[in-house]
Structures are given as structure tokens and as C-alpha cells.
């Protein structure tokens, strides 16, 4: 194969402009390909990177995602590090649900990466992740969102709303401004929690305390059931609002507020006897439970 094979005049010439053009094209393509590979896959020498970290990563990102991100690897990482708060299959739990096509705090993949890498709000990253791991997690979380969009939801939302009203839940919870604020607000509960958590909260509330609903009591379990006995023998059962080494603040089921110095209490039981919220175990049929949960899952904010 020689340059003369490409020559329209089938001639060999030293000064052939076609030869120069082809050489130029070939060289340029080689350089561009090499540069693209460098940017795509990085140049590592032992533990070091030759190109500045931020530059290489920002360009690598899109190429990597398209070519190398692995949602199966992402699932393994997710199950190990994320599922304990965000639930198996991202169905929610202590942390918000992630099985949604649009995540309000991660509108694009850059925002999602930022959260995985640095945390957000009360979430701290479980451990330092490499870029490859972040790519895999992003791929998996987005896949969760896509598959959840098409999944059917058991239960009837309207029947569930009627149940919510009929059972008197509004005497302790507020939804869209209606109700009493003894327990956590439920206006956004459908965006925060998945089916599994809601089922546990309805059947065994003492074991399923809410998370991320109370800003004031940093580091303390939220709505912890407490029972106090005052020095004059009065017993009060409530949900704890806040506490320090010397004082405690709580609310009882009638939304009555109390504040005590611990030295003024004869006894202080924390975590019991049970949550103020009743358990609905055995008091609702399976169909009713599905309906109620369907209604709660539909609560995504003010309607």
C-alpha cells in the first residue's frame, strides 16, 4: 500500500499535496486519539496522577459513564454501604427513598456524585469512594429510578385517605397543614419513606423511630418515647423533644408540653414503655394496610 494508491492521477510524486494532506490527517488523528485516551482513562504512575485531578475527572466523567459504569457493581456497593439507611432497592428508611425517576436534591448526575462523595445535610459519606465506585453507584441509583417508575403500587389511595381520617391519625400528625403536631409531620412522608419502613412504623412504632424530621435534637433519637415520674409521684408518658445532661423536654399524647430538670424527677425511663403511637398490627386487614400505606406513599408535599 503506497500513497500512489490514493492518487487520483495514479502517480508517484515527492511533492504530492495529497500525500501531505493524508500525513497531516493521520498525524492529527493519532494525536487526538491519544489525547482522548489520556483524558478518558487517565495516566497513572504508581499512586500518582500526572494530570491535575479536577481537570481529568471532569472530562473523564461522561466518557466513563458511557463506557465503563456498571450498575451491577453499583448494586453491590449500594447494598453494602447505602441500603441500611436508604433501604434495599432504595425504598427508603432512615434516609429518603431513591427509587424515583427524579431526585429533588440530585437533579443531575453531578449533584448525585457530589452527594455520594461528600454527603449532604445529616448524611455523611460512609467511606471515601473512588471515581469508578461513584460512577457505578450513579448508574445503579438511576436504574432504580427508571424501574420504580413502572412498578405497580398495591392498595387504593382514596380508601387509604378515608382510613387515615377515620382512624384519627390527625390527632397526632399534620398533613398539608391539617392535624396536630404531636408526632412527626407526614406531608412529605411519601418522598422520604418506602413501603417496608411504613409497614414497620404502623405495626411496631417503638422500633421504627423517625429520622430526619427533627432539627433541634441533634444526635438524639427523634420522638423517643419516655416515661417520667415527678418527685410528687405524677407519671407522664410522652415523646421526647430535646434533652441535655441536666434537663429534658417532652410532649404527651394530648399535645401538652413539659420541661423538667432531671434533679426534679424521681424516675426517667427512656425508650419505653412503648411509643405514644399505637400499633395497628392485627387491627387492620392486609387490604386496609395496603390502602393506608398507598395513601402515605402518595404524600409528596403540599397538593
Amino acid at each position: 500500500m503506497a500513497f500512489s494508491d490514493f492518487c487520483p492521477k495514479r502517480r508517484r510524486c515527492d511533492s504530492c499535496s495529497m500525500k501531505r494532506k493524508l500525513t497531516l490527517i493521520l498525524l492529527t488523528s493519532l494525536v487526538l486519539t491519544f489525547a482522548a485516551m489520556l483524558f478518558a482513562f487517565g495516566v497513572g504512575v504508581g499512586h500518582y496522577e500526572i494530570f491535575p485531578y479536577s481537570l481529568i475527572e471532569s472530562v473523564r466523567h461522561s466518557v466513563y459513564l458511557a463506557i465503563r459504569a456498571d450498575a451491577t457493581e453499583g448494586k453491590a456497593l449500594f447494598d453494602n454501604d447505602c441500603a441500611r439507611c436508604h433501604g434495599i432497592d432504595g425504598s427508603g428508611g432512615e434516609g429518603p427513598r431513591l427509587d424515583k425517576p427524579a431526585l429533588s436534591r440530585a437533579a443531575d448526575d453531578d449533584a448525585l456524585r457530589s452527594i455520594i462523595r461528600d454527603g449532604i445535610g445529616v448524611m455523611r459519606p460512609v467511606r471515601q469512594t473512588t471515581t469508578a465506585e461513584q460512577n457505578n453507584l450513579i448508574a445503579y441509583v438511576r436504574a432504580l429510578g427508571r424501574s420504580a417508575a413502572s412498578a405497580p403500587v398495591a392498595g387504593n389511595v382514596e380508601e387509604g385517605r378515608a382510613l387515615y381520617d377515620g382512624l384519627g391519625c390527625a390527632s397526632c400528625h399534620i398533613v398539608n397543614g391539617v392535624g396536630e403536631g404531636v408526632g412527626p409531620e407526614l406531608t412529605h412522608v411519601g418522598a422520604m419513606r418506602g413501603r417496608e419502613y411504613l409497614h414497620e412504623a404502623l405495626t411496631n412504632p417503638t422500633a421504627a423511630l423517625p429520622r430526619g424530621t427533627l432539627e433541634v435534637a441533634e444526635g438524639l433519637s427523634e420522638f423517643l418515647p419516655v416515661r417520667v415520674t415527678t418527685l410528687d409521684g405524677r407519671e407522664i408518658r410522652g415523646a421526647r423533644i430535646n434533652e441535655d445532661t441536666f434537663t429534658i423536654q417532652l410532649r404527651d399524647a394530648d399535645n401538652q408540653y413539659y420541661s423538667f430538670r432531671k434533679s426534679d424527677l424521681r424516675a426517667l425511663e427512656k425508650g419505653g414503655p412503648t411509643s405514644l403511637m399505637p400499633s395497628w398490627e392485627g387491627r387492620l386487614t392486609d387490604a386496609q394496610m395496603d390502602d393506608l400505606i398507598a395513601y402515605l406513599l402518595s404524600l409528596n408535599g403540599r397538593s
Binding site: G219, S221, L224, D244, F246, G271
Partner: protein, 525 residues
């Protein structure tokens, strides 16, 4: 001629007032109106012999004045008080000199501190010697300031911040030496301790705490391809003028939770070093946690005390370690004397006769996560313990909190956090804290006072029979030093991540502590 004599008299009177020569710091315990060094005395007892505030009167303690910091963030400062002036530090190594009577600012110093600085921004305090105040900054400079005016005398670069080095601890002033430690052990740096000439800022010696090459001491304890990283020196140590020995703790090796590429004990990380202050040579060392994979820095305050054991007078050093064990060593030769856990710990089946931990095989971090007690920075950390020579008890604010430790891939990039994994603390009501009083020679628990959350601040003990401390929920409190009974508390409104101290002006005793936006100073009516 008369003017000259007058000038000399006036100048010497003024300078005699403000001078803090080395000898005054050596005798600091006998002059409790001042607080001349980070831990009160070179022995680091953080004990005040003032007794105006005592078990009977402490209930009347109320705020005397408050100084609000210029910078918002975590404030870990421990004030110095010398001859009516108080020196506090704020973010990045900013210094404020305050009138100790009224809290009014006398001067301030703002260090070079662009937003791009690497490292933690908090600062634990200054050192004073003669007429000079010394501060280490986040930018890893050591700056000498005129104590009276705050004007810079000299400013030297300790190390390059862009490589991850920064300074968070208070320097220690010895005769002719300003001792400065560095932070950055989590940022992939090689730790060291420096000594500077107080007059000129010239570096006199540098002691690296981890070896560089195969010839250096300790190199045989690092095999494998990993970099030799860690051993940061970020908490102020102690000094015995009689033995002329400087005692300083060292931090963890890197990467924190993945030790695969650094098999071996990794000297001199997680150790206590006894150092000759003249030339920075190591007289002896004791390693608390060989081959640490739990981020158990030994950057805790070493407390020097004397006791009689088996009929013999002994010179000892106590340290309540981040690994959950309380250790007593002979401070002349580093021999292990006693050790006992002071919190729940699940990683060791005790200590052997030399004080080396007997490791449990299932306690190392794993990819899936391993639950271990204590967690990271939970049992004990930088915040100060206190030793009362009156009760002969060692008091500390301890956290009961485990963590799930994860082992991950290692990815070294200059000055980035070099972790090799991570952790998740046991949180909410499954973790708590306590002020614990230990028999100093044995670590045996005498009493405890439970705290709602694991603490992040230290303690002060006083001759008034009191132990002062602060809770994470914001309570500044006083306990009976003999029984642990709470005698007084005041809600400051923010987590207390600082150490208390006490001083006196015009015959009135004050107790002070920092909490987020303010330095709060209390006194009797």
C-alpha cells in the same frame, strides 16, 4: 540625664510587669492567678489551686463577661492569662488579646488564611514566653507577636500547607525553644515536631515521627509498598524540667483504615515520645497501638504525676488513649506500669506485661464493615483530662460509642484525605458519655457522672474540690471532685468543644470556657 533614668525606670517597670520568663512557667502551679501555658502547668494537670469557688459557693456562679469570637465555626481554644491579659485563638490561628477583667479587646492578629487552605481551621491556643505570644496557623506558619501590641515580631513557614500540613495545636514554650506540632496525618503527610528559637524564629531542630528511608530509626517496622505517612503531633505535650524531658503524643499512620500496604508496627505512630528538647532526639518511646487501623491517634495530653508504688517514689506519665485504654508509664524510661480500659472496648484481650495490646482477630475493618468499640475519636481525643494532686484522681470526659469500620481502596492524591475506608458511628441514644474519675496509678474507676451525649470537651479540676466540664448539649457544669455529684450547671446554647481553665484578677476567681460563638467567663457575685 534625668529623662534617661526615668525612661529606664518606666521601661523596666512596664517590662517587668509583662515578662513571662521560663522560670515563671516552671513555677506556674504556685501562682494560680495566671494560666501561663496551654495545660496550666508543664505537667499538664489542668488543675487550679484557686479555691474561692468551692463546693459550697459554686452554686452562685454566674456570668461575669462574654467575648464573642469574630469567626463562626468550631472553637477549641483554651485561653492563656498572664498579668491581666487573656489570649484566645479563633479560626485559622487568629489571636485576640482581651482585658481579663472586662473582656474588652486590647489587640487582635489576623493571619494569612485564604479560603483555599487545606486542613482544619480550629486552633487550640497560644504560648507565651517573655514578652511574646506565639501562635501556629492553619497556613502552617509560626508567628511571634508582641504581647503588648499584637504586632508581628517574626513569621516563619513551618511547612507547605499545599502538601496538607496545618497547625491546630497550641505551641509549648520552653527555655530557648518554642515547640510546635503539626496536623495533617489524615492528609497523607509525614509527621514531625519542630523547635524554634523564640527570638529569631529560626528552626533549631525537626524530629520526624515516621522514617523516610530504610536507614532511619523505625524503618524496619514499615514493610510493604505503602508510603510512610502519619505520626502527626497536633496536641500540646508536657515537659519535666527536672528530667529535662519533653513528652509528646503522635498520631495515626496513613491510610487510616487500610493497613495492607504498611505491614509492621509503623513506628513511631500512635506513640508517646520522650524527647530531649535541646536537639530533638528521642530518649524513649512507647507505642500504644502498633499497626493502627482504627484511626486511634495518640494525640492525647500526657499527664505527669508522681506517686509511691511498692514503697518506691516513682515519676509517672498517664495517658487516656483513643484506643480505650488508660496507661501509666514510668516517665524516666518509658516502662509500662499499669493499663486498664476506661470504656467498653472489643478489639483487645487486654494488654501484655509490656503494655502491648493482645489483638482480637475479628476487630479489623472489613469491606462489609466491622462493629468495634470504641469508635473513632469517641473514647478519648484531643480534649484535656485533669489530674488533681488533692484527690490523686485522674478525671476524663469519656465517650461510650462504637463504630462500624469499613476498609476501602487506597487512592493517594497530594493533600487530599488519605483514608482507605471510612466509618459510621453508633449514634443517637445508643451512645452516651461520662465524666470518669480514675485512681491515677491504676486506672481503677472511682466514680462516674453520666452525660447524655458523648463529650467533645475537656475538664478542669480545682483546689475548691471541683471538676468543671462542658457537654455536647451545651451544659457548662461543676461536679464534686470526690463524689461526682453535680453542684452547678449553666446552658451555654451550643456544643462545648473546648477545655475550661481558671484565673484570678484583683483577688476574684474566674472560670472560663469557649462554646461556638463566645468565650464565657464566670465568677461569684
Amino acid at each position: 540625664m534625668i529623662l534617661r533614668v526615668l525612661a529606664v525606670l518606666v521601661l523596666s517597670a512596664v517590662s517587668a510587669e509583662a515578662q513571662i520568663p521560663y522560670e515563671r512557667i516552671v513555677d506556674a502551679a504556685a501562682a494560680p492567678g495566671d494560666w501561663l501555658t496551654y495545660s496550666g502547668t508543664y505537667a499538664s494537670h489542668r488543675f487550679s489551686s484557686l479555691n474561692q469557688v468551692d463546693k459550697r459557693t459554686v452554686a452562685q456562679l454566674r456570668p461575669a463577661w462574654i467575648y464573642q469570637f469574630q469567626s463562626v465555626g468550631i472553637i477549641e481554644t483554651s485561653p492563656i492569662v498572664a498579668d491581666g491579659l487573656m489570649f484566645v485563638t479563633e479560626l485559622n490561628g487568629r489571636v485576640a488579646a482581651l482585658d481579663a477583667r472586662t473582656g474588652r479587646a486590647v489587640w487582635t492578629y489576623s493571619p494569612y488564611a485564604p479560603a483555599s487552605l487545606i486542613g482544619f481551621r480550629f486552633n487550640r491556643g497560644v504560648a507565651v514566653l517573655d514578652d511574646t505570644v506565639f501562635v501556629g496557623t492553619t497556613a502552617a506558619h509560626l508567628v511571634a507577636l508582641d504581647a503588648k501590641s499584637g504586632v508581628v515580631r517574626w513569621d516563619v513557614v513551618v511547612e507547605d500547607n499545599r502538601r496538607g500540613y496545618h497547625i491546630t495545636g497550641a505551641p509549648l514554650a520552653l527555655e530557648g525553644r518554642i515547640i510546635v506540632g503539626v496536623a495533617g496525618g489524615d492528609h497523607g503527610t509525614r509527621g514531625f515536631l519542630d523547635a524554634y528559637d523564640p527570638k529569631t524564629g529560626k528552626r533549631v531542630w525537626r524530629l520526624y515521627t515516621v522514617p523516610a528511608g530504610s536507614g532511619e530509626p523505625g524503618a524496619e517496622t514499615w514493610s510493604g509498598p505503602g508510603r510512610k505517612i502519619g505520626g502527626a503531633t497536633w496536641v500540646t505535650g508536657s515537659f519535666d524540667p527536672g528530667l529535662n524531658l519533653l513528652y509528646w503524643g503522635t498520631g495515626n499512620p496513613g491510610p487510616l483504615w487500610n493497613g495492607d500496604e504498611r505491614p509492621g508496627d509503623n513506628l513511631y505512630t500512635c506513640s508517646l515520645l520522650a524527647i530531649d528538647p535541646k536537639d530533638g532526639s528521642i530518649r524513649w518511646h512507647f507505642q500504644y497501638t502498633p499497626h493502627d487501623v482504627h484511626d486511634w491517634d495518640s494525640n492525647q495530653v500526657p499527664v505527669l504525676f508522681d506517686a509511691t508504688l511498692d514503697g518506691r517514689a516513682r515519676k509517672l506519665v498517664a495517658l487516656a488513649n483513643r484506643n480505650g485504654f488508660y496507661y501509666v508509664l514510668d516517665r524516666e524510661n518509658g516502662a509500662f506500669v499499669a493499663g486498664a480500659p476506661f470504656v467498653k472496648q472489643t478489639w483487645a484481650d487486654g494488654l501484655d506485661v509490656k503494655g502491648r495490646p493482645i489483638l482480637r482477630p475479628d476487630a479489623a475493618p472489613t469491606k462489609e464493615g466491622t462493629l468495634v468499640f470504641p469508635g473513632v475519636g469517641a473514647a478519648a481525643d484531643w480534649w484535656s483530662p485533669t489530674y488533681s494532686p488533692q484527690t490523686e484522681l485522674f478525671y476524663l470526659a469519656a465517650g461510650e460509642r462504637g463504630a462500624t469500620y469499613y476498609k476501602g481502596e487506597v487512592d493517594y492524591r497530594t493533600a487530599n484525605l488519605y483514608l482507605g475506608g471510612g466509618y459510621r458511628s453508633v449514634d443517637n441514644d445508643d451512645s452516651w458519655g461520662a465524666v470518669r474519675a480514675l485512681e491515677a496509678t491504676t486506672g481503677k474507676l472511682k466514680w462516674e457522672f453520666r452525660l447524655t451525649r458523648p463529650p467533645v470537651g475537656g475538664l478542669l479540676s480545682t483546689a475548691g474540690g471541683l471538676v468543671f466540664g462542658g457537654t455536647t448539649e451545651g451544659n457548662f457544669f461543676a461536679l464534686d471532685a470526690d463524689t461526682g455529684k453535680p453542684l452547678w450547671d449553666f446552658q451555654l446554647g451550643a456544643p462545648i468543644k473546648a477545655n475550661p481553665m481558671s484565673f484570678a484578677v484583683d483577688g476574684k476567681q474566674y472560670v472560663a470556657i469557649a462554646a461556638r460563638l463566645g468565650l464565657f467567663v464566670f465568677a461569684l457575685p
